[in-house]
Subunit: 233 residues, 4 copies
């Protein structure tokens, strides 16, 4: 029963911190919502700041358990994998209303990094990033520099995250049609996958590899060169 209070606080604090930010969130608010004593936060966590740090990590650990990284389907082509990767990121960022608060927490961490940032990256971000790098390694010539792969990875991730980070601006720029089919997760996934696959062609050309014809057209060349291998989302 000792940990129950602790857990309840942890679970309650997440969405509140995500919604209001660290400063605007009050310990009172959290304790009231969690229906625990006002002094509990300091008793269990020592300070508001410590609670925040633990909340951030707890939130992502829980999310990882609840939404485990999907394994690649067998015989998935590179295009399949990329599409799945993009979809996974989009789902995390935009998906399903109530699920989004973990991402909000993450965004705040990006904007104003705290001590929670480094472990967050190492535990939850780097694995995904490495898998994307791996996927790219399969598509690109072996001679491609790591830096190039990283920049390409950021280009892909950046397109996805933009709809979370700049969501407010996107909505204002395109008007009220934000919720329409054209900006559904499906549509965005198709677009970003198509955009990125086509872009990859330019980096395949750089290498001194022989047959140009096979690579470019319709993005099909990409698919062709990729062996089926598991890549988490």
């Amino acid at each position: 029963m000792a940990d129950e209070t602790r857990l309840r606080i942890l679970r309650t604090a997440g969405p509140i911190f995500a919604e209001c930010g660290f400063e605007a969130t009050t310990v009172r608010e959290i304790c009231a919502a969690a229906e625990v004593n006002l002094a509990s936060v300091n008793y269990h966590f020592g300070s508001k700041e410590t609670l925040y740090l633990e909340t951030v990590q707890f939130a992502h650990r829980e999310k990882l358990l609840r939404v485990p990284l999907p394994a690649w389907p067998p015989h998935a082509t590179a295009e399949d994998k990329l599409r799945l990767f993009v979809r996974t990121i989009l789902n995390r960022c935009l998906g399903d209303g109530a699920v989004g608060w973990e991402t909000r927490l993450l965004m705040r961490e990006m904007l104003h990094p705290t001590h929670a940032c480094r472990p967050l990256v190492e535990e939850f971000i780097r694995p995904q990033f490495d898998q994307l790098l791996e996927l790219l390694a399969e598509v690109l010539p072996e001679s491609t520099d790591l830096v190039v792969r990283q920049r390409i990875a950021f280009s892909i991730v950046g397109q996805c995250l933009h709809y979370r980070f700049a969501n407010e601006f996107v909505v204002l720029l395109i008007g009220a049609e934000r919720d329409s089919e054209a900006y559904s997760i499906d549509a965005l996934c198709d677009h970003i996958t198509k955009f990125s696959l086509a872009a990859l062609a330019a980096f395949q050309l750089d290498s001194p590899s022989p047959s140009c014809a096979a690579r470019v057209s319709h993005g099909r060349s990409v698919r062709d060169r990729i062996p089926a291998a598991p890549i988490p989302s």
Copy 2:
């Protein structure tokens, strides 16, 4: 002398709000830094909130004056224009070391939109966005849907902004080499331009236009189709 105090507050408040956010910033802090009386903020702006709103708009207006949108050089190709556009955005986001606080302000606005958001978008964001759309219109088949162009524009902008939004994560992911040549503005500009130009190929193919061959290869086709015309970034 009437507006001097007002201006000093406005100029001082910007970086502080950018650094700490609205909640964590105190009026005392601003007034102390601006060396004005504590009551001045309420006298000139009525409230902390109003000060924030005016600060945000003032900051971007000033920035626009200081870094005016560059005109296209004569005879610029589409690739030239795109490269210039990308460079301008990157400069705004990452440029000039300590000067980046206006963008931080903007990021906060995206994360936690206030009433300052809409005028910000209309006055400062939309013009840029429209110019990018225009540029894309020149490159893409006439039949291309507006929605498609918008999504492509977001794909381009998203790649750039990612280095601002997720900067902290980027640094942690690639290690201490962030400041190296590989992630300089020049290098990023080259990369994003190359990536995007190649991607555009996929959307040029969609149209029922006849000669496919000329367009795609090396991104050269894009350049060919674009008449020289000035487009601001």
Copy 3:
């Protein structure tokens, strides 16, 4: 034109001070309502407190000019005079909505006397009080002590003022019928006059005067003994 601002402030301040009290009234409020500069109060009156003092006296001086003390009608009996006196006080206290704010000012002065109190009493209250004492002198035996007359005067005035001072309580005690005919100024005037006339009988008896019969019945005795003499309200 120098005095116009001064006058406008004076006229505006009265009702506001009456409504809100000295503390709760702000100089800003008055200046805004009077449509004069914020610094005008201090310029013309030196301080908020001085303004208050002058406002109180100004208010009653104006009221006296606007509602001069009525002269007794010729051949008025003592009962007539008393009735007229009571009616005048009731009118001042309760009369006509908008007119009541001067009395509110007066009430505040009673509750929390300021320097404005003494001149107020001497200039505006004592004349009325003296006239009531005079009227009583006509009705009562010559041997009646001044103190007795004063206490009787207070008994009469007290009955009237109660409907101003304790108005809120009266309303709550008798329910919503406060505005009904039974508590109209006319009805109250009748009641208080009747009540007081009857009471006077007891003080007429005290004296060693001879004929008892003439005095008491129906209050008529009082009327009989009173010669017509002017009494201000």
Copy 4:
């Protein structure tokens, strides 16, 4: 020990609110006088306003305990009862020198009613008022209208309260002899009782009852008609 701070605040706030009024009283002042932390008021009462409301009711509840309504002595005549009633009110208003602050609180409430007003009237004022009405019912003909009895009650109470409400003016009008024997509680009680008893005669006459002679003279008729019954003041 839980409520000790709360009680100390409540007890301290009473006289201060009474002296200065709600607006002019500061929470700091109260806390300093009560020797409690500045934040205590908000902790225990939520706001200055709530503290005021609770203070007003607490004050009267305490006063009621300290000065309980006296029971009628056995075989008390109507005159006895009226005298006792008047004395009780006068004692409440003027009694005990420095203790009169509860009444000041009440006066403020009359002048500028707050939410504290209604419960105050219902809990503390109405019981007294009802007992006076009852007492009058015994003295007056059965046919007497309730409204008439109420107005008479107000006439009696009004005489008493006048020495509290208009105390400042009374003092100024009669000069420095205010503290003399002539305006002692005893003397005022005698006067008001005598004045009111005599006045009642006029209302006894109104009824169509037969024998006029017995009632009027010397106020004795009143006494005669009243059966001995306990009436609280």
